[in-house]
Symmetry: C2
Subunit: 347 residues, 2 copies
């Protein structure tokens, strides 16, 4: 193990005692997952909940209450005494302030400048960390998954947007804004289509799932995607990753061609990122990649080989994320462990 | 001063004694500069030399001999005893291996897998470090110049190529290959013109000096750049940064429009880099920027504002490099000082 790798691993070494445990939360727009873990990062219990209530007002306070509930449920299920709770880690969509522990202005959740770290710390009387969910997920892959033996890691997660994250020498790179890693807003074509961010030509305006689904819906309407049309119709909302993968498996050649084209396009932008930061691991994840891992890894590898400089591509491996739904909680728990271990060493 | 900033500054603190000094070398394709510096980074003496001999064979050994000569000359001029030499830092074009101290395969110099660090260490019996010249130059700006109070720094240096370098938290980012920072090979348009690297659409194929000069030569030929035509003719080789700046100053409007367009194009790619790594400082340097600093800073600032995400652009300042020709030797000397200080602390 290299000195830096060892340092990163040491940062996570914990002795929480027999009853000690952590809780990590993956806060999503539709559902949330809380996992209670011991100091070997084994999941003792987990609890899931819809993020928004089915009825009644949807306010920050209401959703905060639901987050507390799902944490309580995980604690309860773990069978550990509450006194053993050593820390809580939250992975949340951004933009957020990881230093101040504040949810700034979430697109699908009713939080605006919400000091979630302070609120949870007061309620649970324990250490709390907040991290962007994409960062936490990539950090999970770095600590326990597909990027375990890497140093400089680029994560690319095509979904509704195209999430990105960077790890340099064992640490999440936040940059000056706290919000580095916006791979989806790297420019593919400055005169390209309007992006959700209001600018033009961002890669996610071309190759995010809604844009891909739009192209596929057009195929379905004109009879070029018979299996997709039968399975999911032509509503962009219903053309989800699973339906796309099934259509390709069933033989919709034009569906496959479109998805390959967009995966390759993502790869061209990834090549720009590779030429800039020279990672040794490029982790692909998210719904599309979960369902069509080989296709995405193949096309991105091909694009990076074509548009990356040979001596920068040489040490690089393009891989599929392998922790699935657990990546965010594993990463968030690792960050909690590092915080606790750091405190312990100082104290 | 932030803890990280202070750490970086501490790394450079040296006590070399009354006679102690360092020598830093900026090894260029046409000329080289060696500067002898004391432990306050004051230049005691400097010496310049053509890199290649005017007559006779041009081999790695011959050029190595000339490098030794220019170092000896700087030592001699400094008036310090040779016994006071505490270290040598070399800034060289790449590709090179900064860890192994090897010049891998330089485009304009007769070095191929040349172990320059080992050779200089044997000859001068002192600590030697090797760094890419663009990295060393940006590090000089970080330690003493335009990026002094920044944390995450992106350097963009348009010239024959478009050099790039990155500093994260006070350290040069080398990445997995040792050669990160290839801004010039970020893709502007995957179907664009052939680049010197053999790929298509790299930003330097559009906006490097030769490409800009080509566009300007075409203007000159068709009578749209009278001042430029009178001053430099229509030979791309003679359309250098100074001539371009003079033509703009004299009123060649179309020359100005072309240069602004290419500076803006560089800015679009810089915006992609900003969205990925979120720097707080973007340093522009190199010949074109030396001559037309305001134009480049203005256009890049405008492009970054247009194509960067607002919360990533907010902490960013776009500035012109301010150490000029001394940047590389200042940066190389800083790296030597850090190496010596690190050894001293360990020893």
């Amino acid at each position: 193990m290299s000195p830096r790798k060892k340092e990163a691993s040491d940062r996570r070494k914990l002795r929480l005692g027999r009853n000690g445990f952590m809780v990590a939360v993956d806060l999503g727009g539709t559902k949330m997952l809380a996992a209670a873990m011991n100091d070997r990062f084994e999941i003792l219990a987990s609890s899931r909940k819809r993020t928004l209530p089915k009825t009644g007002p949807v306010t920050g306070e209401v959703v905060f209450g639901r987050i507390c509930d799902v944490i309580e449920a995980a604690i309860h299920e773990s069978g550990r005494p509450r006194s053993g709770l050593a820390g809580i880690g939250i992975g949340s969509p951004g933009p957020l302030d990881p230093y101040g522990g504040v949810l700034i202005d979430l697109a699908n959740l009713p939080f605006k400048n919400f000091p979630i770290v302070e609120r949870l710390r007061k309620k649970f009387k324990t250490e709390v960390i907040l991290e962007n969910d994409v960062n936490a997920g990539l950090y999970g892959e770095y600590c326990f998954g597909s990027a375990r033996d890497a140093h400089t890691v680029l994560g690319v997660f095509p979904g509704t947007g195209i999430g990105g994250a960077i790890i340099f020498d064992g640490r999440i790179h936040h940059g000056a804004s706290g919000a580095a890693g916006e791979f989806g807003h790297m420019i593919y074509d400055p005169g390209g289509p309007l992006c959700g961010c209001g600018r033009r030509g961002c890669i996610e305006a071309f190759s995010g799932r809604p844009a891909i689904a739009g192209r596929l819906a057009a195929l379905a309407v004109r009879g070029d995607a018979p299996h997709l049309a039968a399975d999911a119709g032509s509503d962009v909302r219903s053309i989800r990753s699973g339906a796309i993968a099934r259509a390709i498996g069933a033989g919709d050649k034009r569906v496959e061609a479109v998805v390959r084209e967009e995966a390759f396009r993502i790869g061209i932008v990834a090549a720009s990122a590779v030429n800039l930061i020279s990672p040794d691991r490029l982790v692909l994840g998210g719904g599309l990649v979960e369902e069509m891992g080989k296709l995405f890894v193949d096309e991105v590898t091909r694009a990076v080989a074509q548009y990356g400089l040979p001596f920068l591509v040489k040490p690089l491996k393009v891989v599929k994320a392998d922790l699935g739904d657990d990546a965010v909680v594993m990463g968030a728990a690792s960050l909690v462990a590092e915080r606790i271990a750091g405190r312990a060493r100082k104290g």
